[in-house]
Symmetry: C2
Amino acid sequence: MRIFISGPSGVGKSTIISEVLKRNPDIVLSVSYTTRKPRPEEMHGREYYFISPQEFEEMVSKGVFLEWAQVHDHTYGTSLDWVSRYEKEGKHILFDIDVQGVRQARERGFTGSYVFIIPPSIDELAKRLKHRGTENEKSFSLRLKNAREELRCWKMYDYIVVNGVIGQAVKDVQSIIDATRCSRTEMAGRIPWLQEIG
Amino acid sequence: MRIFISGPSGVGKSTIISEVLKRNPDIVLSVSYTTRKPRPEEMHGREYYFISPQEFEEMVSKGVFLEWAQVHDHTYGTSLDWVSRYEKEGKHILFDIDVQGVRQARERGFTGSYVFIIPPSIDELAKRLKHRGTENEKSFSLRLKNAREELRCWKMYDYIVVNGVIGQAVKDVQSIIDATRCSRTEMAGRIPWLQEIG
């Protein structure tokens, strides 16, 4: 099972993802490759695989990425090999992915449940972005503009979850995961006699 | 929102449906038309609209049925008018529908979540059918044969729910309903600013 989760900056996606991972020990979070430098608390292979721009370019040219994207000054990509490796072990995968990545995954016909987290309103998102202490006025406007652009891509997704009250958003994502477990494709893999009968 | 639920005879579909309706007061059960005679406890317009074979034929020829099917000696049909009337009131509809009905609804491109309830195994279904006191040996074999035929249609459905432990099956259907509430189509109707932005 594959669950793709996107949402504009400030929407609270990371909190939702970490809550969902706690509740579903059979789901692993996809680990991407990136050219950005690790932060002190980050570990190679846990948050990301930290590689050089040269290595990244080489991987792009070899076509090993399911999707990759430039975000601010750095590139991020999801390796198809990584996905196959975990799926062979029977693991379910949750992808924390941006709209550019979803577009590419969709274009490749990569199946799964695509979930878009949205704020209750644009005003509310603006408020949340403003309250992030580190933002100066310029990066605030830029982030809000980007968020608007991203929100315009809602039609690429199967599901839309409003993050108003955090508990409800987590519940909604959990329902989507539980429903996806019951999807025909998932069940066909789990119930051998269905294949035999039909 | 439309939820279609099918399952072979003996699988426990009615129990699941009545549990689900109790938990979701905003969902109404579709009331079909039938040519079979009402049982003592049944009421016209509640369990079914009881009509004559002549009236039924007339409705078929006028094309008012979303789907209709012959089951044993009687015909049953879902009226498109009935569906539109409730949907205009903003109601969600649950359809208790057989595989023939689902085939027709799919052919018409009728959108919704299609759920198939299956037993844990064919043997288990046979056991359940056998334990129904009223069945004689002949109707038992016929019902088992029909159930097998119906189970072969699992690929027409979006979701498959195993009714092993009843509580779990109800939970699964509930997750499918909650996920469907978050589906792009449903959310697009509920969140005006999404339409405006994209």
